[in-house]
């Protein structure tokens, strides 16, 4: 696999993520903040987002599994997830979080469970693509450092 072809693959992947609505303009902001002095910035933020999200999703599952649901706690968790997704540019996840918060406000357990299911699916779909993105980036960087030597 040539360097050009790897770069092309990465570009196609990221473009499709924007088109699909998985990513928004905030992700472009992150890309702009990455430079030679911080080459791993975007990857770092993505990884933090994934760690955060999976922790929060697990917490949400626990909270909604209670006989009496504490909707304030659920809302606080979703608020965190919404914040993280906004910071990384994860548009679809952010949008589902907004719907999720609506269900919390209505103390709607059924709605919350559905929203959790949706957010989980959106998150893992995104996580999958992020995984491919980071792998491609790593391959590209390995290629580039090899070329320099």
């Amino acid at each position: 696999m040539s360097l050009t072809s790897l770069r092309e693959q990465l570009k196609v992947l990221i473009d499709s993520m924007f088109t699909e609505g998985l990513l928004d303009q905030q992700f472009q902001q992150l890309q702009m903040l990455q430079d030679e002095s911080s080459p791993g910035f975007v990857a770092e933020v993505i990884m933090l987002f994934c760690e955060d999200s999976e922790r929060i999703l697990a917490e949400l599952a626990k909270l909604l599994d209670q006989p009496v649901v504490d909707f304030q706690k659920v809302d606080a968790c979703v608020h965190q997830l919404k914040g993280s997704s906004a910071s990384v540019g994860a548009q679809n996840v952010k949008l589902v979080c907004m719907q999720f918060r609506q269900c919390c406000e209505e103390n709607n357990k059924e709605g919350c469970l559905n929203a959790l299911d949706m957010v989980r699916r959106q998150y893992f779909h995104l996580n999958n693509k992020f995984g491919t993105m980071l792998q491609l980036e790593q391959s590209i960087q390995a290629y580039e450092s090899k070329q320099q030597n």
């Binding site: 933090l48 965190q80 906004a86």
Partner: protein
Amino acid sequence: MAVDAGAQFHVLAVDDSLMDRKLIERLLKTSSYQVTTVDSGSKALEFLGLREDHSPDHHEMEVNLVITDYCMPGMTGYDLLKKIKESSSLKDIPVVIMSSENVPSRINRCLEEGAEEFFLKPVQLSDVKRLRPHLLKGKSKDQQLQEEGKEVDSNTNAIISTSNNNNKSKKRKAMDEEIAPVRTRLRFSTGSLTIV
């Protein structure tokens, strides 16, 4: 004293989210600010309190601006803002609040309490550019005092003249222009002070 010419202003960023701390740190560093991040309001106060004990000659340790998240467990950004503005030694440090929620009453409350700006998250590079005038304001106030050959007495906060130190203060002004801005409050002259 070795000072990084690029690290003129020192910003203290407060946010309980690791992700957001990474982001704000990168935004601030991209704008050539020196950055310290902490994850809570109480740690921020600790950091600010500690700085007070250091000799002001350590310009690189001074905090020139605090930028804090609003929603944090324990001490909120608003609580932190209040504590800073209520402190005689810290009240002149500009404070900026960040929040992911656009709540007009919250914004007004913060501005009324003395916050310089209120940024909606996610914070953008264009927002960080708005910090500069607030940082420069703190610096020019000091320069004005220096030009007049005056300083602020540390005990009484009175402005006193340092007439026998005119040469020294001019030199310090030239240095300060390149190095770091000094707080407008405490200043210890190495020479003797004339108390008017």
